[in-house]
Amino acid sequence: MESMSKAGIGRFLARQGILIAFAVFIIGFTLANGRFLSPENVMGVVRSSAILGVMALGVTFVVISGNLDLSVGSMMSFSTIVVLDLHDKIGPVLAIPAMFVMTLCLGAFIGFLVGYLKLNSLIVTLGMLSAIHGLTLTYSGGQNMDIADKEGTWFSVFGQGSALGIPVPILIFLLLAALLGIVLAKTPFGRKVYAVGGNGTAATFSGIKRARIVFLCYVMSSFCVAVAGLIQASRSLGSQNTVGQGLELDVLAAVILGGASLLGGSGTIFKTVIGVLILGFIQNGLLLVGLQFYVQFVVTWAIIILAVWLDIAAKRGKLLSTIA
């Protein structure tokens, strides 16, 4: 009996390790600041996590397929700047699809390099991080991009609107998460993504067109970036060239925090969403507690490692690793 229930708890923990870590932090922050769990704050955190979150959804595909994408931050800056610029030039109705096309082209280019030419994804996307930044600076002349008539445009709906009492960014994030979650878990394409990341050679031997799958993952990722750029642009109706700078590491951290392995072949959309929320709530929680920003750095360090440690310790049923 005893060993049964022990095993039961063990197995439960093994599945929910990251959720439990999440719960622990929430409780901790709530004790530290009563407003942490207020509806406005929760809503606020989820809303501002939505941008990071949307990008993380796409990167989850890329990571599961066994690759990295460090270009998403700089690509997001590009999308934001482009859509804001075109908004005034050709109007939002055309600006949005135009921006999506341009962003998807960037994604397709990366997908071509990594998928078909089989170039190392870390360097390719690091190179693209820099190249796209250069592109954005050239496009904008390095200037801030702002919509002239901020009051009069319906464009603000994506970032500032709300429907059914829920902010639109959250709706977009959740809908996209549900959609991509289904694609990943329930479609042949999703299955192939896992196979390609788990063992690319075996996937090829199974008749899976590995290059195409990798290509599509990057296109998917750039699509998510475009959505994130849209929300970002709409949220502030103006932007700096550097708006997405540095987000690539946060995005990656969220995906990994959710339990995807950098080696590929594992991870889920649901877990990525948890990873995103953990990061968002940590950042917000620490701000609310009002620690110096550098103390926040140190605490974030501890939390990230603890969360992942708890997650994998639960899976292996032991606190310490088995590494000799």
Binding site: T187, G190, A202, F205, I208
Partner: protein, 504 residues
């Protein structure tokens, strides 16, 4: 023998994994200078028992006693220090390193300041390699070797230390006959030095040739030990699978159909040249040859994995270009690859999804995968091939070697291809399942499929094939019909002797 102290004793070993009781109170003792066979069906627990002995797994219950001293094996390192050497079933090599570094992995000879003593390393290695009569040297990079040669590197490790006991876990699964002879010499050398040897294999003829006693496991429990001299294959099989085995060939007298696949003058760089053959519907065509003869490269070319440099391929009489495995599959060709871990399976994925991977798109209903249909396929082949796993959700990497191989075979059988190619299909498969797979291959032919079987096991090719293509050094030496083939003529053909005769 019985009044000697055993080199090694295992008592009441219990080891469980989630949902699996892999070992259920197993005991075993090995005498110095004895070759002790460990037999059992795929998934019976042989490798797990050895991993317990080798310090890789910790058992829940039971004791390990080395020369009458109870010992807790906490790590491979410790097992090694107790004189236990483990030659793994799955290759355990660092491919980017040299042969010498691999053989002495973990115990490179040192000079002062932690430097490697290269001279000593290479001379010692070369001495070992000389004993093994292999065609590569100490400085060869392991990744450049064929699987068979990599297996020889693995075996060479047994000769580096003063071992009390050496465990060979299916060492011959990817060796050809010549290498097997060398291995058996090595084993008898060790035996003479008083080393206790545990030898795991599914090949009866080997077991009866080299072992002294045979212990049998079934479903994780110990079934008994037999003196090799005083027992028979039937008795062992009976103990292993609980019934007698029907080894007769499934001779359905079906008509051969049209030529399904025809290959004319096919070449690929220096790997094979001017290869021609054909396979009819209803026919099993065997390919036999030495390591490096180019058989695998031929079938890889047929499967769209290599670009031929000349010649043509005809399917149903029409010339085709096969650009990729996806293309091959759509044209009705399937390939069971020779390297199950590297090419056959996504180890982190579950059994069912691995099995249905090539057809996941076809099985889908609307935009979604169809778990029901997939599970049905899984259940069917689990039954048909007797795959031992707690359920379809089990991660393939957790299956025993033989059961993994069965998943790979099922994966391609379930595609119902026009031309089925199997490369070393029964590597690591137990006797019972092996004859089951051979019967399946014959059945498929009877149903009108064209089948190509590449194998390095002569009994296997002889048993399943209607005709046999003998290859030597990238060329077809001769094609035999099952009536005309003899073991001698086949060996001659694959050694290139026919070639010189023809020239002369």
């Amino acid at each position: 023998m019985s009044d000697q102290t055993p080199a090694l004793r295992l008592e009441g070993i219990v080891k469980t994994f989630p949902g699996v009781r892999a070992l259920d109170g197993v005991s075993l003792s090995v005498m110095p200078g004895e070759v002790h066979a460990l037999m059992g069906e795929n998934g019976a627990g042989k490798s797990t028992l050895m991993k317990v002995l080798g310090g890789i797994y910790q058992p829940q219950e039971g004791r390990i006693i080395v020369e009458e001293v109870p010992t807790v094996m906490t790590s491979p390192l410790q097992a090694k220090s107790k004189g236990i050497v483990f030659i793994h079933q799955e290759l355990s090599l660092a491919e980017e390193l040299t042969v010498a570094e691999n053989i002495y992995l973990g115990e490179l000879p040192r000079r002062s300041f932690g430097r490697v003593d290269w001279e000593k390393l290479y001379t010692q290695t070369d001495a070992i390699l000389a004993k093994l009569k292999v065609g590569f040297n100490a400085k060869t990079i392991v990744g450049d070797l064929s699987i068979a040669n990599q297996q020889m590197v693995e075996i060479a490790r047994a000769l580096t230390v003063d071992a009390k006991a050496v465990i060979f876990d299916e060492p011959t699964a990817s060796l050809t006959d010549a290498e097997k002879v060398v291995l058996f010499d090595v084993i008898s050398d060790l035996q003479r030095q008083g080393v206790g040897i545990i030898y795991i294999s599914h090949r009866m003829e080997e077991i009866f040739k080299i072992t002294d006693r045979i212990s049998v496991l079934r479903d994780g429990s110990y079934r008994g030990t037999l003196e090799t001299r005083n027992t028979t294959e039937e008795e062992v099989t009976q103990l292993m699978i609980g019934r007698a085995l029907d080894l007769s060939r499934n001779e359905s007298n079906h008509e051969l159909g049209d030529v399904a696949l025809e290959v004319r003058g096919l070449s690929c760089g220096h790997m094979f040249k001017d290869v021609s053959f054909d396979v009819r519907r209803g026919e099993v065509l065997g390919f036999y040859g030495l390591v490096g003869a180019g058989r695998t490269e031929i079938v890889e070319t047929l499967f769209g994995l290599r670009e031929p440099s000349g010649g043509k391929i005809l399917l149903d009489g029409e010339e085709v270009r096969i650009s990729s495995p996806a293309d091959a599959i759509s044209k009705g060709i399937s390939l069971v690859p020779e390297d199950r871990k590297g090419q056959g399976l996504v180890l982190g994925m579950n059994c069912r999804d691995n099995m249905t991977l090539p057809q996941v798109g076809e099985l889908s209903s609307g935009p979604f995968v169809a778990p029901g249909a997939e599970t049905a396929i899984f259940d069917k082949y689990k039954e048909k091939l007797d795959i031992r796993t707690p359920g379809w959700k089990q991660t393939v990497g957790n299956l025993s070697g033989g059961n993994q191989q069965k998943i790979v075979i099922a994966k391609w059988l379930s595609m119902h291809p026009k031309v089925l190619i199997v490369d070393e299909p029964t590597r690591g498969i137990d006797v019972g399942s092996k004859s089951e797979i051979h019967n399946l291959i014959r059945d498929l032919a009877a149903q009108g499929y064209a089948v190509i079987v590449v194998s390095s096991e002569m009994p296997e090719v002889l048993h399943v094939s209607d005709r046999i293509v003998a290859m030597f050094s990238g060329r077809v030496m001769r094609t035999f019909t099952s009536e005309e083939v003899t073991e001698e003529s086949l060996i001659q053909a694959i050694s290139g002797i026919t070639a010189t005769e023809k020239v002369a």
